[in-house]
Every structure is written in C-alpha cells, then in structure tokens.
C-alpha cells in the first residue's frame, strides 16, 4: 500500500543522508522524497512516498523515529490529508493544431503554460499523483513529450492536526 510519511528533523549536515541511508540499508522502498528547510531554519521537513504492508510500515516509522536527528514522523495516509505534487513538462508544439490542443488540455487540467519556445511549450501543473499521471498520459496521446520533471509529493494533514516541535 502507498503511504505518505511526513518527517520533521534537525536541519543538520548529514541528517538527510541518514534517512536515505536507512531506507536503502533496510531495503525500504522510496517512491519519492522531497526536502526543504521550514520557516524555522533549524528544522527540515521531508515528505516520503513509500510502499509496504503494515508490518513494513511499522518498522519504517520506528526506524526513522530512532534516528537521533528526527523530531517527529507521521503517516499522513492514516487520516485525511492534502497531497500535492508539481510537474514541469516540455512538449512539442509545432503547428497550430498541436498548440491549440496542448493549450486546451492544459486548461482542462488547470495547468499553466509558463514558457514558450519556437517549437515547444513548457507547462506547469500541480495536483496529486493521479492527476499528474492522467495529464501526462493525455498529453502524450496528443504530442511528443520532450522532457518532464516532478517534484515528488508533499503533504499536510487536514484540520487542526499539525506536525511541529
């Protein structure tokens, strides 16, 4: 089962490598990982999308918690939460027909065209993983994808629940 873990940890040199090392050392899966400092610069927040059954997930959470740098970890997928990912995608837009079509698809998905080249459009879109996958698939049916980059997902719990010191 796919899980999204949010981790709050000390923003120290080496703390990210400890997390990554742990996942590879213990053969835990990483689908995506994002990291950045929080508004309090002494803290970093990581979101990891991973897969595993309950037993594996229990070990992941416990093992991450055991790292000295880690302040808190929570499984966002346990309760209601918001999950977002960003994609930047460059596609071929050679003629009027493909330009119109690309623009139309982008609008439907509520993306935006953020750069235009002689023969290419660069599009930005945010959403959950499913939406991004659907968008990429639809575009691919229409034109050629030249390049794309995804941020990996970030997530936050709904309501009052918060991950903080």
């Amino acid at each position: 089962m796919r899980r999204i873990l949010a981790i709050l940890l000390e923003n120290e040199p080496g703390s990210l490598s400890r997390i990554v090392g742990l996942f590879s050392q213990r053969a835990f899966n990483i689908e995506s990982l994002t990291v950045a400092p929080t508004e309090d610069e002494s803290l970093s927040r990581i979101t990891i999308a991973t897969k595993g059954d309950d037993k594996v997930l229990e070990q992941i959470v416990k093992q991450v918690n055991k790292l000295i740098d880690v302040i808190k970890i929570t499984d966002l997928t346990e309760r209601s939460h918001v999950e977002r990912e960003l994609i930047l995608i460059k596609v071929l837009a050679m003629n009027d027909k493909s330009r119109t079509e690309v623009k139309r698809i982008t609008d439907i998905f509520r993306g935006s065209i953020i750069d235009i080249g002689k023969q290419v459009y660069t599009i930005q879109l945010t959403g959950d993983a499913d939406k991004l996958n659907a968008f990429v698939k639809t575009l691919a049916n229409e034109t050629e994808i030249i390049e794309s980059v995804r941020s990996g997902c970030v997530g936050i719990a709904r309501g009052e629940k918060a991950l903080r010191v």
Partner: protein, 574 residues
C-alpha cells in the same frame, strides 16, 4: 580579566576529563597529533597504545562491557579510522556504548581526496547510533558531551565524532564551555513503561500456566539482574538467557534452564515451544534464537519489554509490547504484582516444572570424555573449577565460544564478554585486555581458537607494554572448527579452506612477545598445567591446548525447523 582560550586539542582532553574518562585506546597519526600532544601533558586519563586500531575498538568495547562505562577510542584519519569499522560494527550489533574520536583532514581540504582523507562519518553511518562532523573549535566540548550522552542512554551504541585537523591546531583557540547535562529536543528516550501496558503484561504473566522468561543482553546492559532474579523468584518461573544475557540470572540458579537458541539447551528451547506466555526482557528475537520464524511458538502470548521500539515486532509479533528501560519496567511489574498480592497458582506451576525437569533429564548439554584426545568442553569445565566460576571470560568466535557459553555458568552479569551479533573473530584478546585494565585483580580469561587468536595476535605486544596478564586459552583444533562443523553437517564433509596447515608454535610465539607459553597435549596433564597457568601472577600466560578436532557443538537446532527442533547428538533428534 580575560577568559582563557584553548585549542581544540586541549578541549578534547578537558572534555574527556570532565566526563570522567579513565582510559582511551588509540593509535596516533598526522591529523590527531595535536590531541596526542595534549594527552601527553595531562594525567587525568591514560592512553593505551594498541598495535592495530581494530584492537583499540575491541579493547574499549571489552572495557565497557565489564564496567558499563563508555569505551573511548582515538584514531587518525583515513586508514586509522577505517581500521575501526569492524569494532564499531561489533559494538553496534551488541548495543555497547562507545565513542570513537577520529581525525580528519583540515576542513579546507575536505572533499579533495586529500592525503589520508576518508569520509568516516559516511563509511560508518549504517553501524553507528549517531555521528558528528565537528567543524568549529568552540563546538568540540559539547559535541563530545552529546556523543557520550547518546552512546550511553536509551539503547546504547557507538557514536563517531570526526575532528578536522584545523580545529585542533594551536592557531585556532576559543573559550571552553561544556554542558554535561545534555538536553536534545530530537532525542528523549523513554524511561518508564506505559502503566496500561504494565497492567496488561502483569495480567498475562499471572494468568499463565506455562510461563517462560526469556531474558537477553538488555538485562546485562541495564544492570537489572537483581530485579530479574527477584521477579523469577516471585513467579517461580523458568528463565532462559540468550548468549548475550548469560549471567543475567545466575547460571547456577535453580530456575535457570540454560541458554536458548541454536546451541541452547533442549529444556530452554522446549520450554519456549510449549509456553503459553513468553516474557521477553531486553532480548531481540534474533534468528539464532527463533530458528524458523514461521514455526516460532505459535501458541504463546508474547510480552516484549525493550527500550527500542524497533526491536519489538521486528521478527516476531509481540502481543503486549512494553517500551521502557528494563530496570524501571521490572520494578513497575514487581510493584504491580505486590499490589495485587499475587501468589503463583501452585498446581499448574508444579506440572510445568515436572515437564521441564523431564527435558532437563535428557542432559542435552553433555559430552563424552574417553581416554583419547582432550575434549574442548573438558577444558572449559577445568577452567570453571580452577577459577571458582568467578573469572571474566572473554571469547572469540567459533566452537570454543559455544563451549564456553555452555560449560562455564556465569553467576554474575558482565563476566561473559563476547561478540554475539556480529560474531567478530579477533574480538577476544583485545576485549580481555580492556577487562583486565578495569579489573586487574580478577582472573581474566581469553578463550579462543587457533583461527580467531591470529586475527589480533599482535596485541600480545600491547599486553607486555601495559602489563596486562590475561590468561589466553586456545582450544586448538588445527582448524576453523565452526566452519568445519557446518561442512561436516551440510557440505558432505568437504573441508574447503577450513583447515590450517601452518599454525604457528604458539608457545614460542608467546615467548617471543615476552610472555609465558604452556603447551597441553594430553588429558593427564590438563588439570595440573591449567592450575599452573592460573597460578602465575603478573605474567601473561598463553595456554595452547591440543583438543579433539572432530568434536562438534551440540545440541543444535535443525535448520528451518521450530525453536525446539534439535539435534541433541550427532544423528540423534530430540
């Protein structure tokens, strides 16, 4: 008035003194020469110069296992640091508190593949509890204080501190401030067990008809043997120890049913397999204990007390987990039992003991000594008699380790010093040296094999320099016995590279290093020569005993079977 300024090297020394360090084990080199210079100018602690950095880690480790204090190692950058890796991993696997101070090239050169640069923090990351890249002079004292705190608290383990040369040199000075009462927002290990879980645990224990206490290294690490003994006696329950937990309950206690696991006693493994409740205390359901996890005690309710949540339900699912320090949790359990005025239900208890005594009667831990070659087990028994069972026994890894565990019952914790989790050959001698430093007036035995002893034999030289008269007893079977045993049992008797054709004359070797060597070849000279060896004070004695090379370690679990599927002798199943 000006506040005094100190170099980083001076700060290292001051911090170690402030933390009550008595010994550090190390080897000098370019990046740590400033620290060596500062050590030279103080006398709060002694530095022990080893002959190989791996030995420094094992010495610090042995010292820690015997005393409970943090073991401290100092190594230079590059090869010095990488030589520590095996010792760090050994300490990590057995949860031993250790701080390894490693030199590093100057910060300006880090990343340039400078002379003797290795990323020791990176290399050691999977085998440390934590590590620090120290980068500022003024940070040194508190980084070291934190390293000690992390190493010793919660589930203990090794911590690496990397110190670049430019923060140690005389040009770079700062004020010295140290906070030994460490507080960290990201690290607050649990202490007490959750009261609800304690109640649940006590309920399960008191309702059990066939209870077994399975206690491990956690009892030894927490110095909780007295509380364990009290609980065992209150419940009149059978108690088994893991290899790491030996001495947690006295080996001669009437409720002790032997070690469990791969080479455990039949009664211990049978009791586990037939128990309705298993109370696991500071033990981690290692695969050398459980055998096939799918067949592990399917009918037992498992109560698991451990300070480390990752140990719980990792391999075997715990029905009642209790996270907490074992000494505190044991006291909570005992108090709860007191409060409920618990008395064991005599009838089922008597039936359970009857059953256990039947398994005991098989005498699965036994051997046959005829007139022929000396049996290795016989040597261990002889040492037990001579030392009244009171020696510190430090072991290497192999058959001799199992014979020592089976035939030298330990009545006190911290007396049995061995590498269980990593199984590091070469651990025994340096570990024994660390123990001897701490307890110079006790008998300290290094029991070893002809293979293992050669993995750190150079330390015989250190023993002479610091006058460490340990007694080394090699159960010499002219082969890598444990490997050979597996080849006999699993690989059709093909002894691929398990036989050593060029074993040195250990007596001469010991003499060459300035020690006493004693050769024992026949059964009739065994006792008298061993007596002689143990009567020599102030000289290291190396006893080379020629033992039967065909002897196998029994009992032994049958691979892929349940915990109690065992060979009790060659070809005889339980």
């Amino acid at each position: 008035m000006n506040t005094p300024l100190f170099t980083g090297a001076e700060m290292v020394v001051k911090a170690l003194s402030a933390l009550d360090v008595k010994y550090i084990f190390g080897y000098p080199g370019g990046t740590v020469l400033d620290i060596y210079d500062a050590i030279f100018q103080q006398d709060d602690f002694e530095h022990i110069l080893v002959r190989h950095e791996q030995a420094a880690t094992h010495m610090a480790d042995g010292y820690s296992r015997a005393t409970g204090d943090v073991g401290v190692v100092l190594a230079t950058s590059g090869p010095g640091a990488t030589n520590c890796i095996t010792g760090i991993a050994t300490a990590y696997m057995d949860s031993i508190p250790m701080v390894v101070l490693s030199g590093q090239v100057p910060t300006t050169l880090i990343g340039d593949d400078a002379f003797q640069e290795t990323d020791i923090v990176g290399c050691s990351r999977p085998i440390v509890k934590h590590s620090f890249n120290c980068r500022k002079v003024e940070d040194i004292p508190n980084v070291i204080a934190k390293a000690f705190y992390i190493a010793k608290s919660g589930r203990p383990g090794p911590v690496v501190v990397e110190l670049p040369k430019d923060i140690l040199i005389p040009d770079n000075k700062a004020e010295y401030n140290i906070e030994t009462n460490v507080q960290m927002r990201s690290y607050n290990p649990t202490k007490k067990g959750h009261p609800k879980q304690i109640k649940k645990a006590v309920k399960a224990i008191t309702e059990a008809k066939k209870l077994v206490i399975y206690s491990g290294g956690g009892i030894v690490l927490a110095d909780a043997s007295e509380l364990l003994t009290q609980l065992v006696e209150t419940l009149n329950a059978p108690c088994t120890n893991t290899l790491m937990g030996l001495g947690g309950l006295a080996g001669t206690h009437k409720n002790f049913i032997g070690m469990l696991g791969m080479h455990g006693s039949l009664e211990a493994n049978k009791a586990m397999a037939n128990a309705d409740v298993i109370l696991a205390l500071g033990a981690r359901f290692d695969d050398r204990v459980t055998n096939n996890v799918k067949k592990f005690c399917p009918n037992a309710t498992i109560v698991h007390v451990d300070i480390d949540p990752t140990s719980i339900s990792k391999t075997i699912n715990a029905h009642i987990p209790v996270v907490g320090l074992i000494d505190i949790v044991l006291q909570q359990i005992i108090d709860e039992l007191d409060e409920t005025g618990f008395l064991p239900d005599q009838e089922p208890l008597a039936t359970w003991w009857e059953q256990i005594n039947e398994w005991r009667a098989v005498k699965s831990v036994s051997y046959q000594q005829d007139d022929g070659k000396i049996k290795p087990q016989r040597v261990v028994e002889a040492m037990y008699k001579i030392t009244n069972g009171e020696a510190y026994v430090c072991s290497d890894v192999g058959q001799h380790q199992m014979f020592a565990a089976q035939y030298y019952p330990f009545d006190k914790p911290r007396k049995w010093i061995n590498s269980g989790g990593l199984g590091t050959m070469g651990f025994g001698l340096p570990a024994a040296m660390g123990v001897k430093l701490a307890f110079p007036d006790s008998h300290v035995i290094c029991i070893t094999g002809d293979g293992s002893i050669q993995m750190n034999i150079q330390e015989l030289s250190t023993c002479l320099q610091y006058n460490l008269p340990v007694v080394i007893v090699t159960l010499n079977n002219r082969s890598l016995g444990m490997v050979r045993q597996w080849q006999d049992m699993v690989y059709g008797g093909r002894h691929s590279s398990s036989y050593m054709e060029s074993i040195p004359d250990f007596v001469k070797l010991a003499e060459a290093y300035g020690h006493v060597g004693i050769q024992i070849d026949t059964l009739d000279e065994l006792d008298s020569k061993l007596e002689q060896a143990f009567s020599i004070k102030n000289r290291l004695v190396f006893v080379d005993v020629c033992v039967d090379e065909k002897e196998h370690v029994y009992p032994m679990q049958i691979k892929y079977g349940a915990v109690d599927d065992m060979w009790v002798k060659k070809g005889v199943k339980a």
